[in-house]
Symmetry: C2
């Protein structure tokens, strides 16, 4: 059945289980840890659908599972949640030579890097779209019904994964996504290094640009706090709104008054997102 | 209006506000940080009741607010939550000379120490029962309706605070409390240092011993995971059960199968506790 999984921890939670596993990723060329929440409904004869959660800069598999308060409703709805790490890790994986927190370790940006020295390990797109779901689907009592969501860098990742893979996800949503990374400092820093200086290669990793050619009209649900300190400089949801309008792509963009970029914001609206995904994952 | 409050952070959360404040505690003789969740119902003309949450060993004001998932239902019910730190802090406050995590900083045990060098600062009982509620009630739109709950060391604290102060709290509950601290390693270590070697002085800080003389029949709600690694060695809920039975004191002790000592356990049952407190706080 392929690569072995080593369990790191297990906690009973809302009648189901929160578990962390370590495995060797062939895509990333390193050991990776991910977390999975299995709701009480999951069993050999009752596979459950899976929501993939992609976290933001500096996070690991732990932030969402500990802070979002998502397991309560996921347990009620019967949805598994998988939270990968945010970059390759380990002694062989180069980080930012400047030691910054917005590039390198904890900042994989869910792309496949093409430039040395990043191309060897920084292939988070292939990892979260292909290798990890295959591993999850042969290791746990889950179906191949998938949805994807995420926050900030991970919101960008969720939108890109869904827009590039028609039919692979039943639904998609994002919290405070980096909506137009080819035109903000975080994205420009990461893409110029991972993908090189030629900006033509960046477009396939930018949700606002991908929307123009999306082959599938998967409705996008996006929540954004209007007191988010990164709103104007980095996140740029207006670019997504304009692209959706131009392409006729269904987008629900909710500006949430008073909310910031923290997990307090995510926790406040995660139930809405879970119900959005449940409507697609549990239909028919 | 007494000592000034300095705001440390503010995050909108579930339509209300999670805020952290710093203040000088005269009781503890040091600067303290606490967290408060104010539900959307709280206003100058609509004071809300308060649930005090006492955390366990090594925690600060942050653990419960970030990990318990309590704000969702507290916002719905209209209950404020106050989470103090777990010990005095700061450069003047002595910690454990051995540097252990189960005594000193992060381990105040909600007692008033009588022994040097602890007696000067380690007065967490007076702080959480008297000074902090007085400060909260004159600084925020809250009423004098109070409840108290906590986890592990803080579960012990919650039970002791309620049992020693008839009429002060409308309800009490605990998660995995140190139920009989005069007869477990954590309690014996802390009490012998904070209170001295004479065990006769320890009884007034032990919930199982206090139950025998409780002047008020406040119903106790206690949840305990049966896979909690500290269950047999440190927590001893059977002592509480026997004391309650002997005294005819109402106790609902729920052994939760498969659950451990973590915040995944707390999150799984916090809604039940909030409803328990709401029934008392919001009545009549």
């Amino acid at each position: 059945m392929g690569e072995p999984l080593t369990i790191v921890s297990a906690n009973k939670s809302f009648g189901g289980w929160h578990k962390r596993y370590r495995h060797h990723s062939t895509t990333l060329g390193c050991e990776m840890v991910f977390a999975v929440f299995l709701p009480p409904q999951a069993g050999p004869d009752s596979p459950v659908p899976v929501l993939y959660w992609l976290s933001g800069l500096t996070c690991t598999d732990e932030n969402f599972m500990q802070k979002a308060g998502a397991m309560r409703l996921a347990a009620e709805l019967g949805i598994a949640i998988v939270a990968p790490d945010t970059s390759p890790r380990g002694p062989d994986v180069p980080g930012d030579p400047d030691g910054s927190w917005d590039f390198g370790l904890g900042a994989g940006f869910y792309v496949n890097a093409t430039q040395d020295p990043w191309a060897r390990h920084y292939r988070m797109y292939d990892y979260v779209v292909t290798e990890l779901p295959a591993l999850i689907e042969r290791s746990f009592p889950v179906s191949d019904r998938r949805s994807v969501s995420g926050h900030s860098m991970g919101g960008h990742g969720a939108l890109v994964c869904a827009l590039r893979n028609p039919g692979r996800y039943r639904s998609v949503s994002a919290f405070a996504p980096i909506a137009n990374p080819t035109d903000c400092p975080w994205g420009e820093k990461a893409f110029s290094r991972y993908l090189g200086p030629d900006r033509r290669g960046w477009a396939e990793w930018d949700a606002s640009l991908l929307l123009a050619e999306a082959a599938e009209r998967l409705p996008l649900l996006v929540d954004q706090g209007d007191k988010d300190g990164f709103l104007d400089s980095q996140l740029k949801p207006e670019a997504l709104r304009q692209a959706a309008a131009a392409a006729g792509h269904p987008l629900t963009l909710r500006m949430q008054p008073g909310y910031d970029h923290s997990y307090f914001f995510i926790a406040s609206f995660i139930d809405d997102h879970l119900r959005h995904h449940a409507a697609a994952l549990l239909a028919g």
